[in-house]
Amino acid sequence: MAKTRCGRILGEDIYIEEGDTTTLYFINQLRAYQVVLVALKALDQDICHDGCSLPSTVNKVIKRLGKLKNDLEASDVAAEKKESLLSKIDSFLADVSRLPQDISQTCRKSAGECVMGSGCFATGALNLIKEITEPKALKI
């Protein structure tokens, strides 16, 4: 079956067989997390480092990546591809685990430091995941 390129994750071009939507689902999720993680790292250099929205977002990402890992393990993705994608999830998990996770800190808006309006960069960065609309979430 013909293989097509459908992404580049951690410097590696990723190919799938036409119509393999299960593998494509995991690849698309990882494509998004790759961008989200860099955005969160940039936020960590901002006042968000001392707030609660960034840690809350980081915790969500850790949880979601953990679920993605479990779903991938339980999926029928080909063994070699599965290993490769699992190692990428582990790499993302290691990366995100280095970011702040203490949600007991005060929101920088409440502290009067974040004066950008009602929006929040941490939430906005996480919402980049919503850009993935295909394939639909797997029922595992």
């Binding site: 097509t4 390129r5 459908c6 992404g7 580049r8 994750i9 951690l10 410097g11 071009d13 494509l24 698309n28 494509r31 998004a32 790759q34 961008v35 989200v36 993680l37 860099v38 955005a39 790292k41 940039a42 936020l43 250099q45 901002d46 006042i47 004066v115 950008m116 309006g117 009602s118 929006g119 929040c120 960069f121 906005g124 960065a125 919402n127 980049l128 919503k130 850009e131 993935i132 609309t133 295909e134 394939p135």
Partner: protein, 114 residues
């Protein structure tokens, strides 16, 4: 323009540039949308520099610090690696994430700054 407004714009651009840098390591590197985003962000940075020039900031150090950050953004925007020949990766059949686009959404993070 107030210092606060400029600082908020700078905070936003820092995240947008981070996200776009991540996209350059992706298939987006050969995508028209990233090429367009690079131009758009370059213009945002340029406008921010002009706004800083006309801003009434008394403290020279604050102004110099803001200018230094804008200069670093200008360099980062210029250095975003985009392929010589770009085409939309959805049209090329490589990007299969649906109708939306990471790169456009990343630039739209600036809309969070009110």
């Amino acid at each position: 323009m107030q210092t606060e407004v400029l600082e908020n714009q700078i905070r936003g651009l820092s995240i947008v540039l981070g996200a776009l840098q991540a996209a350059t390591g992706e298939i987006c590197k050969s995508c028209l949308n990233l090429e367009g985003a690079k131009i758009k962000v370059g213009k945002m940075v340029k406008k921010l520099g002009m706004d800083l020039d006309t801003a009434s900031i008394c403290c020279e150090k604050t102004k110099a610090d803001l200018q230094a950050r804008i200069d670093s953004f200008s360099k980062a925007a210029e250095e975003l690696e985009v392929a010589e020949e770009c085409e939309c990766q959805k049209t090329a059949g490589n990007c299969k994430l649906g109708a939306e686009c990471f790169v456009t959404a990343a630039v739209d993070l600036m809309k969070l700054v009110q």
